[in-house]
């Protein structure tokens, strides 16, 4: 199991039966592969679908059934379609229980920087800003450190923000943190074989350690 699978699997355990869930592009999309059998969630795609199902089989792609990542998908029983206006009423209006998104940086105040690297990469925010502001719970899915080993969980984000004080849970290949209002990051779980010191060495942000610190189970 690689890091991305590990993270996606751990996040899947955050989902509860009946939750309305929006999964961002990339690693967050993989979460759908690990949802427990007895948990039925309703997947939303911000281009206008509730009840996203598995990808369409080759040859069975429908031009009117693509997700927000441009993939041809199927829908589950009980699905519905709607336009962008209603889609973002759902998102901004607090009707999405959980959104999972990847990020470039996140900080100890719950600020998220996920959408641009000035002068380098400006793909646009798409629906990410609406999702992190509107969803009841924002879960950040990312590898703990950058390719060069530099921390991505910071005291203060350096890149342009997606939103202020919105991340509630951060799941990485090393740790799970909760972001607690007026308190900051709390280390709740740690990857098998790692010490708190290992996590601290790879984390710029200040964090406290939960008295019930556990090993991540996936």
């Amino acid at each position: 199991m690689n890091n991305r699978e590990f993270i996606a699997k751990r996040i899947a355990k955050e989902l509860k039966d009946g939750d309305v869930v929006n999964l961002g592009i990339g690693m967050p999309t993989m979460v759908a592969n690990y949802i427990p059998e007895n948990v039925n969630v309703i997947l939303q795609a911000e281009d206008g679908i509730l009840g996203v199902g598995p990808k369409a089989e080759p040859g069975e792609e429908l031009s009117d059934c693509i997700d927000a990542g441009g993939n041809y998908i199927t829908t589950v029983k009980g699905a519905s379609f709607f336009d962008s206006s209603l889609s973002f009423c759902i998102i901004r209006g607090g009707h999405v229980d959980i959104t999972v998104l990847g990020s470039l940086e996140v900080d100890q105040e719950g600020n998220v920087a996920s959408w641009m690297i000035p002068g380098k990469k400006v793909p646009g925010m798409g629906g990410a800003m609406d999702l992190v502001v509107g969803a009841k719970k924002v879960i950040i899915a990312m590898e703990h450190v950058g390719k060069n080993g530099s921390p991505k969980i910071l005291k203060k984000c350096k890149l342009p923000l997606t939103a202020v004080n919105v991340a509630k849970t951060i799941v990485t290949d090393m740790a799970v943190f909760d972001v607690v209002q007026d308190e900051g990051l709390v280390l709740k779980e740690i990857a098998p074989g790692l010490s708190v010191e290992d996590v601290q060495n790879s984390t710029e942000a200040h964090f406290t350690v939960s008295p019930e610190l556990k090993v991540i189970q996936v």
Binding site: G48, D64, P160
Partner: protein, 218 residues
């Protein structure tokens, strides 16, 4: 009753120098490819402003439009799928302004609905708030987002009847519905064209009063 059925070339001849264009679609989904192609091939209007969720993908004619030098300004939410739009932003060859996707949908809806603007919490504390009025209500900050309208809208639908009632299926609804309300001249590219009375009034996604021209393709 005015006959709204016309050719793509005739329909897009409405686009004049300096016009603002809305182009429906979300990536390849619900994108009015034939209308955009006609615009690229047969119309030479320049100094255009394009409003599109994502300016499509490399495979679509909108890529050629953006590349043609005829577009001086772009409003979008995501441009990662069209490298040419990203290049224009980086070089400054066109003014590319990015909005959160839900904000873009709301701005267009406001333009069609005769609203002077809407207050959204999305974008507060980010670069999105630059140049916008901030209003505080009950200790929460909102951005005042102003309406968008256009001279011409190019949209995609599955079916039209003679009076212009449209059915748009599945995830292809996206921005096509709100854009139909917010342009002086609305051109719908449709796969199927039927007689008045053959669309159930309960299934109309865009009432015919919004649609000025229908182009049957395929």
């Amino acid at each position: 009753m005015k006959n709204k059925l016309t050719s793509a070339i005739e329909a897009v001849s409405k686009v004049k120098d300096g016009d603002t264009l809305m182009i429906g679609g979300f990536l390849t989904g619900g994108h009015p490819e034939n209308l955009v192609k006609a615009l690229v091939d047969t119309n030479s209007a320049g100094g255009l402003t394009v409003i599109s969720n994502d300016t499509g993908t490399k495979e679509l004619s909108i890529y050629q439009l953006v590349k043609s030098g005829r577009v001086k300004r772009i409003f979008a939410s995501y441009i990662g799928s069209n490298p040419e739009t990203g290049r224009l932003l980086m070089t400054g060859e066109a003014k590319v302004q990015l909005f959160p996707q839900g904000t873009l949908a709301e701005k267009i809806r406001a333009g069609g609905a005769g609203l002077g603007g809407v207050l959204t919490p999305v974008g507060v504390g980010t670069v999105v708030e630059e140049g916008k009025k901030k209003i505080e209500i009950d200790e929460k900050e909102y951005l005042l987002e102003m309406p968008l309208r256009s001279n011409v809208a190019l949209i995609k639908a599955n079916k039209a009847d003679e009076v212009g009632n449209l059915i748009i299926n599945g995830s292809s609804r996206n921005f096509n519905i709100v854009m139909a309300t917010a342009a002086d001249y609305v051109i719908a590219e449709v796969d199927e064209y039927v007689k008045e009375g053959e669309i159930d009034p309960n299934h109309v996604n865009v009432p015919g009063i919004f649609v000025d021209a229908i182009v049957k393709v395929g």
